[in-house]
């Protein structure tokens, strides 16, 4: 049996206007949290842990999605190469968090939307490559609505506009329950990235949406992300 015949390839940009009814049989529900204030990194980490633990113990317990902004910090994955921090670890200009996700060091700061998803992939598709490609598609769909062409680069994870990376992805998974997710640079200050080798990619250039759409704010992007996540993972928001 050729598995590829049955696999679903991520839909491409133009299809996104097809409204998917959320009440499809394979839809599942999730809480959506959009804190108004900037959230300390460790606080959001704690929130995710609560939901991930609960989903591991009880596969049908609530899933959750957060869209938020963090104070400036760096985060590194468990497999990250510390060489990509261009400073001595104890002399960091910003807080550094070691977290349970894949990928190399990255940087969060106000003006960047971070999306965290605690989903039980057993209810969706138990395939981490599929999940990473779907997260990319969430961002590509949003960029399309904003009139920007987002693209993937073969062999790498993330979303690029022209030659600049605007969206980063890193996830952790336990018993097919996810944590972490994506970040999208909206109108943030990119200077902090100079202290690291983002994603471990030597020559990567970072970009932000305001380079293409002057004046765009996080609050303009959040509603698009909310709908894009909902559509892509066929979620019903439980708390609205």
């Amino acid at each position: 049996m050729n598995k590829k015949l049955h696999s679903v390839s991520p839909e491409s940009g133009p299809n996104i206007n097809l409204e998917v009814t959320p009440q499809l049989a394979q839809s599942s529900s999730a809480f959506l949290f959009e804190p108004k204030n900037i959230v300390p990194f460790e606080t959001a980490l704690g929130w995710q842990k609560i939901f991930q633990k609960s989903l591991i113990e009880e596969p049908f317990s609530p899933q959750a999605v957060w869209l938020l902004e963090h104070f400036s910090c760096f985060t590194i994955g468990r497999g990250s190469d510390k060489k990509n921090l261009l400073f001595e670890e104890n002399k960091s200009p910003l807080p550094v968090f070691s977290i349970e996700r894949g990928g190399e060091v990255t940087h969060h700061m106000p003006g960047q939307v971070v999306g965290y998803l605690a989903l039980n992939l057993s209810l969706h598709k138990k395939d981490l490559s599929w999940y990473l490609r779907e997260l990319e598609q969430v961002l590509i769909d949003v960029l399309y609505l904003l009139g920007i062409e987002g693209k993937r680069i073969d062999g790498l994870t993330g979303v690029w506009c022209e030659d600049k990376k605007v969206g980063s992805i890193g996830i952790g998974c336990k018993r097919w329950v996810t944590q972490h997710g994506f970040s999208l640079n909206v109108d943030c200050d990119l200077i902090g990235f100079e202290n690291i080798v983002p994603c471990g990619l030597d020559k990567v250039k970072l970009g932000r949406l305001s380079d293409w759409i002057p004046g765009i704010k996080v609050c303009d992007v959040k509603p698009l992300l909310r709908e894009s996540v909902k559509r892509r993972f066929k979620l019903n928001w439980r708390n609205r």
């Binding site: 113990e57 468990r78 990928g103 990473l132 952790g172 998974c173 336990k174 018993r175």
Partner: protein
Amino acid sequence: MATHDIFMPALSSTMTEGKIVEWLKKPGDKVERGESVLVVESDKADMDVESFQDGFLASIVMPAGSSAPVGETIGLIVETADEIAAAQANAPSTASQSTSQLKASSSTQVQEKEASVDSPKATEVKKEPSVPLVPDSSTSQPEFLNDGRIVASPRAKKLASQMGVNLANVRGSGPHGRIQAEDVQSAKGQPISVPWIAESNAPANIVSDILPRVEKKSVDSDKPPAAGKSFGSRGETIAFNTLQQAVNRNMEESLNTPCFRVGYSILTDELDSFYKQVKPNGVTMTALLVKAVGLTLARHPQVNAAFSSEGIAYPSQINVAVAVAMEDGGLITPVLQNADETSLADLSLQWADLVRRARNKQLEPQEYSSGTFTLSNLGMFGVDRFDAILPPGTGAILAVGASLPKVVASKDGSISIKKQMQVNLTADHRVIYGADGALFLKDLSYLIEKNPHSLSS
């Protein structure tokens, strides 16, 4: 004595090999079933790999930083500390072999890699420890012949050799009758489906605790639930059996009773953690619930009372009956006598004995008809609430639903998840009034939420 392999899991359908990011356990460390043992990375995704076995990490076959093909053995788990040394002695050869295989093989030849996993050399290493496991007398497995040729997945073959299952007797559920790992487990008698009999140790944990945890695939919670059963075929009418007739009479009689219902939501996090403490002593969730009800009934004698033609009858004992569905139809309510005064351990033992004898139809009438209060639990099916029909001769029955996580938001804006179980009391209004039922439930809820430790006294 048995050695269990930890395999490189498939994190996606296209993944051919994975990188070991970190071992969370050291050789010699104790591991619990479901505990994360290592982290595997593919692309930008990390996956915690769990042990599917209580035991000890005997050996790390593939060290952190190395990559291994999907399905390759990357570590060994043994059941007792004494086996660590033996497993470690066997391990290095496996390690060097695996690494050399890894270096030699090109990344595209997935088939060959998978095949290499069950090369004779690889299985030889494991054969020795697995031999003592062979006796599979415990299960009455049907003889099934795969007309001579055995088609099995690499993992199924591996499991079979570990578990001492003869693949010739295993029915394959995969394409063209291919034997899958799950088939081997079911042949060995490890439960892979939810037992339907309506008696369980857990008010919740529908899927996660009943299904075995296979370390790489985790629980297939997207599998369709087991089909409902039927006593007859389409178009047939089947006579009621004696037990069904008895149930019918009792249920019809209840129509002459003016019943009302009252419900309550009880947080069970404390109860669950207490259960974890006492479970090693053989205490079951049924015993905990019965004891909690028994102790609360002792403080609310009205709810233990029943209607009689002479007036309200107050029994001399608190006897909690628990409904059990019978496989061939009907249900029976074995009784735990003096539930308020009997210890948790005794209640657990008595209950196991009652259920065993109920299934063999060996219960004395006294053992299923002396209940003064009935408990009916459908929580193990994930039912969130239901209401029960009052058995004649008693005043009340409590219907217990699953303990399910609910999001609780506190005033400071923080959120947490607490487990909540809905219970629903059906009572004879001639004896028990609304306020009696409500106070009973309030007290029961207080006991379970705040004071589960008192159940052991």
